[in-house]
Symmetry: C2
Subunit: 786 residues, 2 copies
């Protein structure tokens, strides 16, 4: 190595808040990335699944002989091969079924040399069914005497949640106004561009390696093991690049143990990959629910209570999805200052497709209700909706009834920023006044807000993360972290943080995080936690490395470590930036000295949050954050079509780390939330999905995307890395009710059951006009007590 | 997790010295292993190389236009694309040449969609050469006025080594007997079952990932970078399973930068893989040499001096291979108590194929000479060769003239064990007496010994290793180590050591060691160092983890850490073996407690050896070891065929770690050494290899393998892991001269120039008989002074 010339003084230039591209962006943009879907292992077989294609039935006979005899078929499995291998959140699922409980129940599976042979083999399997009466809504499932989906779950009740705080009767009595509505959030699905795919392979010690898209590799082992009857320790999880997850990979789904059972049977690697149609049918959904919400306030606009009675459509099996009430509850009890709360939720088995986790995790559904009721109450007390909200908005230092401690709370600033930037109050008044003016098109503006955990959520025994960091002789840094990358951009965040601490170029940091045998433990990508938790882990590890390096540098540069810093690949004097020794040269000197040292550090970071406690009272996240969206729309009153012109976002992000990633998260979150609001809908009739294609299931695409104006409120979270909070779910949560409130502002119609499709909106407008023509002014509001 | 029943007391049962199979053995035996040769990356192109096919020439014209135009060809490179990109030990090599210096010089390279297209494209490249006179032996190369292989290396001298100790003239004067011979060790090659192969791919940041068979991934970066003109830090080295190395992958060879240059040019992954014929022609050789050795002794059998004047055939370029004199020198000066030494070696450029490193690293050649001269001197002083050796063998605590400190020396025990077990002295006398008896077949017995570094060799600035170890919530252990696995079995050794320390099953330990971005630094697999160095690293890391675990266990089991141990997956009371808590349960309690901890430790181990010092005086290894082989053979005096019936091995292994691995190393070492001794030979005529196939180049195969009786002498090395020393090279080093000495014992003929093929042996026997018939008793011995 030639000695580099000493450069001019290097002053500190922070990367925090800069726009940094994802390290994998160029490879993804140019088609170089090899997704799991592209992977081929030597000797690999293709597995295919036979779905029931009916919602509820007994299997009278299954004959696989012809399939087994087909040349190129290596194994055919049925429910007989999975007896006793129960898995799932309440152990009600099994990889291959001996009874049909929903349309996509997996009845048999084949491993064959090619996909074509596997498909032909499926066609040779004869199954005789006896159809059974089914239940297709939670009300029907909860009804006395309803057919049972699982014999061992009486009343079809899967899970039950309750939280009560304060004297409800007294609060109701003290209320001047009460809104009381039933909201019916619908089924949607994640629509990942990469369909579900797993590759399984056993070695000769009986250890399973599974290549999977999972978002939670460590607890995944614990969840997968019972489906195979093996020890969780005998599972190695490798996560190749993933074509989207959004929560859909926070659980084990049958295709994964099916791949493993086929691999076990054949002794060869087996890949199961869904077609787009199978993906629609057999991948999880966002939970449909019936939310009966009541909110009261005094005449001067102070909230008095909020109750929610929720029936969740559990579908046929219980994934993690039905635990969404733990989050629904937090919003019900903790969004705005609500002194009295009564929350109840039940998950009821039906013969519908079943849900998984989905970005927003219950809060999409709850905020759909709360944000509309806030507008309704504001109108009833004749206040500007912003003013009404500001009156009830919490400030730093407050604690919610469930004991979420809002340490650094920028809710008021979010409200004022979004409203101010969009000129909300003026437009809101103006558009309302024009509501019944002549003309086909109406403009509307709507505001909505929500709160979400922004410092993880301690729903497991630990919400922590392990990090290992090493710096090599060329000052190249490797960070081995438990944090999974599922497209959300933690790769860029960790790279940025480590480069910031160690003063090296971004390209000199490599992340290793896709193999459970290599990376240390982490809960997984969920709950908007990864920048907060893994960012803290990376920062702590990098700081340990920095301390080691600067302490070692002392003797080589004759300057106390306390006045040294790492900048631009050099060890510099902190006070004047004088470059003293090139970092890579120092590292080699450290390595080759008499008492040699390599820079290798480990860290385990556990946030200060409390486990979800008894009675649901605990400060379950290390931080909370708010977001406010103002949607400006144009409604075609003839067709009912909503065009979202602009969304103004103000979100408490704690502190911006990677500005580009943050922007991307907000854009992506709005795309998902807007699809939920106005177009996406799984049409499930008597348990059968009728629109399993992108032709009939309408995603928001680029032309429908609104202009987005973003305001990042930096509340400087004491516990977060550089002050940052988690940010990724709120954009999905808040947009839909902002559009609903804008629709009301524009037209006077209020939609309780999404999506607000042209058909739905047009019908509501025409009904309202018909009613007005008939002399009334009825809004479709299920019950209003004044 | 259900609580496991408390088992009966668990007493300590050590794994050290047990027979443990390699973790990858079942996958290799069943064809499941995917070698680098089997790898396919998406969009991968195949690179092929145009070799010169002549030993020395100027390139007058090269026309690649037709090749470039062939459909499916993506790039054609020539010497013009590598100008200035010099690499190699003395920077005399370049990936693509502008002048021909040996038969396999790389003149052009093509990247194409398929191997067939690439081969066709090579055929379309027109090259016009002007042949030059060449030099094909080191004597010819060293001659005044010889053609120069490299214009900038006058006298064709590549490297030069000297070591002198004591007063040679006085020692010669004090000698009663002197043997003086010229030995000519020949060219052989490694014959790896997996031919040379590399896959290169650049990402969009300009970072190169190279999948390669290299044995030294970290310094490899430093060696490869100048061949590409990039920063070593921008290289990631991944080592898929390797089909053999034996030292042949301790250097950069042109196919590797060629793959990278083609990948750079095309923007796609490029794989270069040699055919078997190309492998013979273009992969490295064991260094051929001319060793002029003289050894003296007194009439009562005390050695007085040893000199060696060595001319090495450098071939056309200088790899690491020519540094073998640093090891040749140690044997010359340090094997047996030699008070006076004079060693000199020169590496001379020729137009022959060039050498790389090869198991034994110079010591095969030196021991071929020393072990025969010991027998010759014993005969001259009329002593039993064993007795003569015992008289001159060092014992513990002695230091060689180069200051190798023989701390724990079991040389005498090795000699006595091998000789005793084989009844050597009796048979030696008996067979010698029968030498001229009638009959076609003769029996012979021969003994040889050598010394080798057995605790690494500090030829770089560091001989250390980094280790990272983590234990997960299921008590599964991952060891991330710099130690490469090239088939030698360090995977089994590290697994065993970690299982020993942590009391877990072998299958619960996973090794991660094939990616330079993940694993910490290590010098590489060479110098019989890996069990010693990486074994120590693994043990130290495991002990740190154990200390952390037992300290944490104190509070859960209420027993002081000092009386706790890890056995059978449990924390036990050390004194009575009582099982206190299952290890995985404790680990989860540690993880989920209020002050959570994961077990993650790092270690950097540097042996106490000294860098190869000025004047070659230093204790360059942390340990030294001896081996003695006794070969029993039957010679067919008509055909000259040697059948090796049995080899009795006594080797100082320090302590047995994995008995099965040790046995395999000795068997494999003998197979290589025996091929060198009696059958393998690269027939190079005027720089052209005439036998590039397994039909004409004869490896030792299973039917030719002798019975092997092994005795492991456990000298208990204080610095070694559990007392172990490095063991892998000595078996290859010692066998050939043991057979040569047996041949002399059987027939009275002595072969100085290996291999001892039937032709060579038959000719020598017939010459001897002819001479005897002519009245003399001349043995072919170049000069004997008495």
């Amino acid at each position: 190595m030639k000695k580099s010339a000493i450069p001019a003084p290097i002053m500190k230039e922070s990367l925090i808040g800069q726009r940094v591209r994802k390290p994998d962006a160029p490879d993804k943009a140019t088609g170089k990335t090899r997704y799991i879907n592209d992977m081929v292992l030597p000797q690999m077989l293709i597995g295919k699944v036979l779905f029931a294609g009916r919602p509820h039935a007994r299997i009278m006979r299954i004959d696989t002989e012809a399939a087994r005899k087909l040349p190129g078929v290596h194994a055919v499995l049925t429910g007989q091969d999975a007896v006793g291998l129960k898995f799932g959140f309440v152990r009600d699922n099994v990889a291959l079924k001996d009874k049909v409980r929903c349309e996509h129940d997996e009845i048999a599976a084949v491993a064959a040399e090619t996909e074509e042979i596997a498909a032909r083999a499926l066609g040779l399997i004869e199954v005789e069914y006896e159809d059974l009466p089914g239940v297709f809504t939670p009300e029907a499932g909860a009804r006395e005497g309803a057919p049972l989906v699982h014999d061992d779950f009486p009343g079809n009740r899967s899970l039950h949640f309750e939280f009560r705080h304060g004297d409800l009767a007294a609060a109701e009595a003290a209320s001047d106004l009460i809104v009381d509505n039933v909201f019916r959030p619908h089924h949607v699905t994640h629509c990942c561009m990469g369909t579900s795919c797993a590759i399984a392979d056993f070695d000769h010690n009986g250890k399973l390696t599974i290549w999977t898209q999972t978002q939670y590799p460590y607890n995944y082992k614990m969840d997968l093991a019972p489906a195979l009857g093996i020890d969780p320790g005998d599972i190695r999880v490798i996560q190749p690049p993933v074509g989207g997850a959004f929560g859909s990979k926070l659980d084990v789904y049958p295709y994964e143990p099916i791949a493993a059972l086929l691999a076990k049977k054949t002794g060869r690697p087996v890949k199961v990959i869904y077609t787009r149609e199978e993906e629609f049918q057999a991948s999880p959904t966002r939970r449909a629910a019936i939310i009966h919400m009541r909110t009261g306030c005094t005449r001067d606009g102070a909230l008095t209570f909020r109750t929610a009675d929720v029936l969740l459509d559990n579908g046929a099996y219980t994934s993690w999805g039905p635990t969404i009430p733990v989050i629904m509850m937090r919003t019900t009890s903790g969004h705005y200052r609500v002194p009295v709360v009564d929350f109840k939720a039940q998950a009821i088995y039906t013969n519908n497709p079943y849900a998984g986790s989905f970005r927003g995790y219950g809060n999409v559904q709850t905020t759909w209700a709360t944000a509309q009721q806030m507008d309704m109450l504001a109108e009833m007390v004749d206040m500007d909706p912003l003013e009404f909200r500001l009156k009830n908005a919490q400030v730093s230092g407050e604690t919610t009834p469930q004991k979420s401690f809002l340490r650094e709370c920028a809710f008021v600033e979010c409200l004022e920023t979004a409203a101010g930037a969009s000129d909300y109050s003026r437009k809101h008044k103006e558009y309302a006044a024009l509501r019944d003016a002549p003309g086909r098109y109406r403009k509307g503006i709507g505001l909505a807000s929500s709160i979400h955990n922004a410092g993880g959520a301690k729903i497991h025994k630990s919400d922590g993360i392990g990090t290992i960091l090493k710096v090599d002789d060329y000052a190249r840094v490797t960070v081995i972290t438990g944090a999974s990358e599922i497209g959300q951009g933690i790769d860029a965040v960790i790279t940025l943080i480590v480069a910031e601490e160690l003063g090296v170029p971004l390209e000199h940091v490599t992340l290793v995080n896709n193999d459970s045998d290599i990376a240390p433990w982490d809960v997984g990508v969920h709950a908007s936690r990864t920048t907060f938790i893994a960012g803290n882990g990376a920062r702590r590890a990098a700081r340990k490395a920095k301390t080691q390096i600067l302490n070692a540098a002392e003797k080589f540069v004759e300057e106390p470590a306390g006045n040294l810093d790492l900048r631009g690949g050099w060890v510099v004097r902190a006070d004047d930036g004088a470059a003293l020794i090139k970092l890579e040269r120092l590292l080699r000197q450290m390595h080759f000295q008499a008492e040699p040292e390599l820079v290798m550090v480990t860290d385990y970071y556990e946030p200060r949050s409390e486990p979800e406690g008894a009675g649901h009272i605990s400060d379950h996240s290390a931080a909370y954050a708010h977001a406010v969206h103002v949607a400006e729309i144009t409604v075609d009153t003839l067709t009912g079509e909503i065009k979202v012109d602009k969304v103004t976002v103000a979100q408490d992000v704690g502190r911006v780390i990677n500005r580009m990633g943050l922007e991307g998260q907000i854009e992506g979150g709005i795309a998902i939330g807007l699809g939920y609001a106005i177009s996406e809908n799984m049409r499930i009739e008597n348990g059968m999905l009728r629109n399993p294609s992108f032709r009939d299931y309408k995603l928001i695409t680029a032309p429908e995307m609104p202009e987005i104006e973003m305001h990042f409120i930096e509340s400087d979270c004491a516990e977060g890395p550089y002050g940052a909070k988690g940010i990724s779910e709120l954009p999905t949560i808040v947009i839909a009710p902002a559009v609903a409130n804008a629709l009301y502002n524009a037209t006077g119609v209020r939609i309780f059951d999404p999506p607000m499709t042209p058909e739905t909106v047009a019908r509501a407008i025409h009904e309202k006009r018909a009613a007005a023509a008939a002399g009334g002014a009825a809004v479709r509001r299920e019950s209003v007590t004044a």
